[in-house]
């Protein structure tokens, strides 16, 4: 297995940290708009709906600070980002006021996924085939898209919080 500390270039880690901070700020902007405009401010009020819509969460369990397994960690980070990229795309058609923010968030998540995938390729640990998106939840009403937006963003922020901690650990000199 790859030794985590030495095999990742510092520039890669710095870019990842910068991308996480940007996505977190995009996500916060979307959460603020969902709360201000539609009074959807608390994801915990939408847990039941989330289950019925089948909005998945993604673990980052391959990245514990003790005995971190770099290939598994990068792969999980990429899979998570790839999933959120798909979930955000599934929100297409959300209201015109939210669309620019969702688009920016989706583009930034997609670009972060590319950064991670490119690094996996550089390390020679990327799978031969690019992943393909699984089935995505179907949002059948404007409300479901907005509620889906709250849940997806909330899950994404939790995922990024963990990812940031791992990246900071890897980036420490």
């Amino acid at each position: 297995p790859l030794d985590p500390a030495s095999s990742l270039p510092q520039s890669f880690l710095l870019k990842c940290l910068e991308q996480v901070r940007k996505i977190q700020s995009d996500g916060a902007a979307l959460q603020e708009k969902l709360c201000a405009t539609y009074k959807l401010c608390h994801p915990e009020e939408l847990v039941l709906l989330g289950h019925s819509l089948g909005i998945p969460r993604t673990p980052l369990s391959g990245c514990p600070s003790q005995a971190l397994q770099l290939t598994a960690c990068l792969s999980q980070l990429h899979s998570g980002l790839f999933l959120y990229q798909g979930l955000l795309q599934a929100l297409a058609g959300v209201s015109p006021e939210l669309a620019p923010t969702v688009d920016m968030l989706q583009l930034d998540v997609a670009n972060f996924a590319t950064t991670v995938w490119q690094q996996m390729e550089d390390l020679g640990v990327a799978p031969a085939l690019q992943p393909t998106q699984g089935t995505m939840p179907t949002f059948t009403s404007a409300f479901q898209r907005r509620a889906g937006g709250v849940l997806v963003t909330s899950h994404l922020q939790s995922f990024l919080k963990l990812a940031y901690r791992v990246l900071r650990y890897l980036a420490q000199p």
Partner: protein, 308 residues
């Protein structure tokens, strides 16, 4: 149609020759009489037309303008009619140069619009309608995965690639292509990651509010605080401060590197009871980027020296 001009080429290089021929059909010339076909370039009659009657009875005149050095002119095919000159057809002639290779291609990433604006030097005037198109590719090595063309507006030497066409944090290849009726030329490739050419806006620089709980500044010191430009908050940065006493032509003194953000910074070692001009700028760091411009002037005065 009385007469019809056909050209060897409607657009030629400046100084090249142009050959034109004009055919007059029968219903515009009097039977049995040879009408004389004349040529006018702009308002001037042009000698040297070679006229002949074609087997089908129509008359044709051919003229060669050896060194056409107008960038634009109208060539008219005329017929003497009584004592007047009748214009039967007119063709626009244009001349110029093929586009030179565009040079000095450079790009800046705008964090407000999140678009990548590239600019270039178009090269000498071609005198012809010339289009400039940014051709960009997802990779610097191959020309597959092209990104949609960015066509500059007429007369402009810049174009902006929208965020949705960019993959941030990945290298992309960019060239600018110039094209007109006489040819095409392409600049050398620029290979960059859009995020590495971010140009920041200056930080906001203030003095610390005196009502703030902090102790008043020492003589010869100023208390400052600053904040980075909001759209760049997610970027790790370093900054520089420069200050200059308002005394004759004093020089700037540079302080740095400084952190991107601080609630309170005491700048000391200054002349007491003196007015100072201060400015600040920041750059993405340690990742690559462009320095912002200097911030607007902040004018402050240091306190008096307490007599001992």
């Amino acid at each position: 149609e009385c007469g019809h001009i056909s050209l060897s080429a409607p657009i030629v290089r400046l100084g090249d020759s142009i050959t034109a021929s004009c055919v007059i059909n029968q219903n515009c010339s009097r039977p049995g009489l040879d009408s004389q076909i004349l040529w006018k370039l702009g308002a001037e009659l042009q000698p040297g037309g070679r006229q002949q009657r074609l087997p089908d009875g129509t008359q044709e005149s051919t003229i060669t303008l050896p060194h056409f050095n107008h960038t634009q002119a109208f060539l008219s095919c005329c017929l003497t009619w009584g004592n007047s000159l009748q214009i039967l057809d007119q063709a626009e002639l244009r001349a110029g140069y093929p586009p030179a290779v565009p040079h000095n291609l450079s790009c800046l990433m705008n964090l407000t619009t999140y678009s990548l604006t590239c600019q270039w030097e178009p090269g000498p005037e071609t005198h012809l309608p010339t289009s400039f198109t940014l051709k960009s590719f997802q990779s610097c090595q191959t020309q597959k995965d092209s990104i949609s063309d960015c066509v500059a507006e007429d007369g402009q030497s810049h174009c902006s690639i929208l965020r949705k066409h960019l993959t941030l944090y990945q290298k992309m290849g960019i060239r600018v292509q110039a094209e007109n009726a006489l040819g095409t030329s392409v600049s050398p490739q620029l290979c960059l990651d859009p995020m590495d050419v971010v140009k920041l806006e200056p930080p906001m620089l203030w003095t610390v509010d005196p009502s703030h709980e902090a102790a008043p500044p020492q003589p010869g010191c100023l208390q400052l605080h600053w904040e980075p430009w909001k759209p760049s908050l997610h970027m790790s940065q370093k900054c520089e401060l420069r200050h200059q006493p308002q005394l004759g032509d004093a020089n700037w003194t540079l302080e740095g590197p400084l952190p991107a953000e601080t609630l309170q910074y005491e700048l000391c070692g200054l002349l007491p009871a003196t007015a100072y001009t201060l400015q600040m700028r920041c750059v993405r760091w340690p990742l690559p980027g462009h320095w912002s411009n200097w911030s607007p002037n902040l004018k402050l005065r240091t306190t008096e020296q307490v007599p001992i």
